[in-house]
Symmetry: C2
Subunit: 216 residues, 2 copies
DNA sequence: CCGAACTTACTGATCACTCGTTAAGTTGAC
DNA sequence: GTCAACTTAACGAGTGATCAGTAAGTTCGG
């Protein structure tokens, strides 16, 4: 995602000037704001977070936020939008790299999802918890992407059932259970703990295949 | 749960006076407040809900809330506490009624959980979503109960693995996946839909047994 | 059966404070 | 001097909480 909303209204991309020298915002700019918002939204929730808290964490005045975003709501939406696009892109990529065997495809999607939930744990939780605080416009704009992601799972499971690779009687509930199990990881996983990401992926791949009632 | 906190500070139980005549709150009293809070907290979240909104929904003045609860936080805590106790009690009850076979016990716990998530769908979601908005005192007080409930699952699955009834390699992840799948029900289930509670229980019992890798 | 004393279950007004937002001014690199 | 990237100061609306007041009901001595 790289739309006009990445920039202040009417601004031109300052990532690199005409001379090739990057222009670095003195106060950390958009990244400082976004990073702080990510932390504070995750800690206290959208309504529990004030833009003063966010600005303080970013080391800027509260007005700096209004230079980069037109509103608090826009800040939340940008955060969720970026990470939702990222997730969808990763899933899409992962599925391009495997063949058409439903079990392989399910493995790929579980891997992409678990990796995302771990690597972007904070945004993950914001996306699921603060979704309801998006104003209708923003929510509707992202809803299509959400449904597409959900459809990726559904297609794989339905195909597997049709082919006899999966024997679960209720594909929709299998899908919801697998997704719920993967999503929950972001709530309990501690990156500093003993369990590494590859092991985690393997565990949840197995669980997903069992939920889908895979017979090898 | 029926503690002194059910009543205004310093008050004596008025459910039945010395003469046996009950005192009926004119405006609906505690129940009106609690019911409204349940709805508004569920709709907008703790910080998104104002006590004025809650009072308005209850058909009372804002001050009426302070007659029954010392604070907004206490109102949330009371709501979560009651439903958490209710859940734990139902689980406990369900497990008393079955023998010691791990599969039977898992079935009983899934049933109790799914029924709870459907029947008390709203409180369910408040409990999971607004947990973090409990102040430390309240959270710590309820944390023990939460851990006890989690232990119910762990004991059953560990026992099943020890006996060879369940063959999942990672009992903790199996537990978390089963719980996540059951909990998610409260987020998507529509009571007015076609899928009835008994069918739902059966579906999720099967999923849980597959996650635990039950061999019959 | 009366009525003073007391309790219950509220209301309305108001407090100090925080909220998101905005306008106007400042800084400093080019 | 220009313009991106800020800051300071303020606005009005809304927040949780407090408190004095009160209508309605209950209790109990006479």
């Amino acid at each position: 995602m790289s739309t006009a909303s990445d920039l202040p209204p009417g601004a031109v991309d300052t990532g690199a000037g005409p001379s090739g020298t990057p222009v670095i915002p003195r106060g950390g700019g958009r990244d400082a704001i976004t990073g702080a918002a990510r932390e504070i939204f995750a800690e206290r929730g959208y309504h529990g977070a004030s833009i003063r808290d966010i600005a303080k964490r970013a080391g800027l005045s509260l007005s700096a936020m209004y230079y980069w975003h037109p509103s608090k709501q826009h800040l939340l939406a940008a955060l969720i939008e970026e990470s939702t696009y990222d997730y969808f892109h990763r899933c899409d990529q992962a599925l391009r790299e495997v063949g058409d065997d439903p079990a392989d495809r399910l493995r790929a999607l579980v891997r992409a999802t678990v990796e995302y939930r771990v690597r972007r744990r904070v945004e993950s939780n914001i996306g699921t918890q603060e979704w309801r605080n998006l104003e209708p416009d923003n929510r509707e704009r992202l809803d299509g992407l959400r449904r597409s992601a959900s459809q990726l799972w559904a297609d794989i499971i339905n195909d597997g059932v049709a082919r006899g690779t999966f024997r679960c009687a209720h594909p929709d509930d299998a899908r919801r259970s697998i997704v719920a199990a993967c999503n929950a990881i972001a709530q309990w996983y501690e990156p500093s703990g003993e369990l590494g990401l590859p092991d985690l992926v393997e565990r949840y791949t197995e669980i997903a295949l069992r939920i889908a009632d895979h017979r090898s």
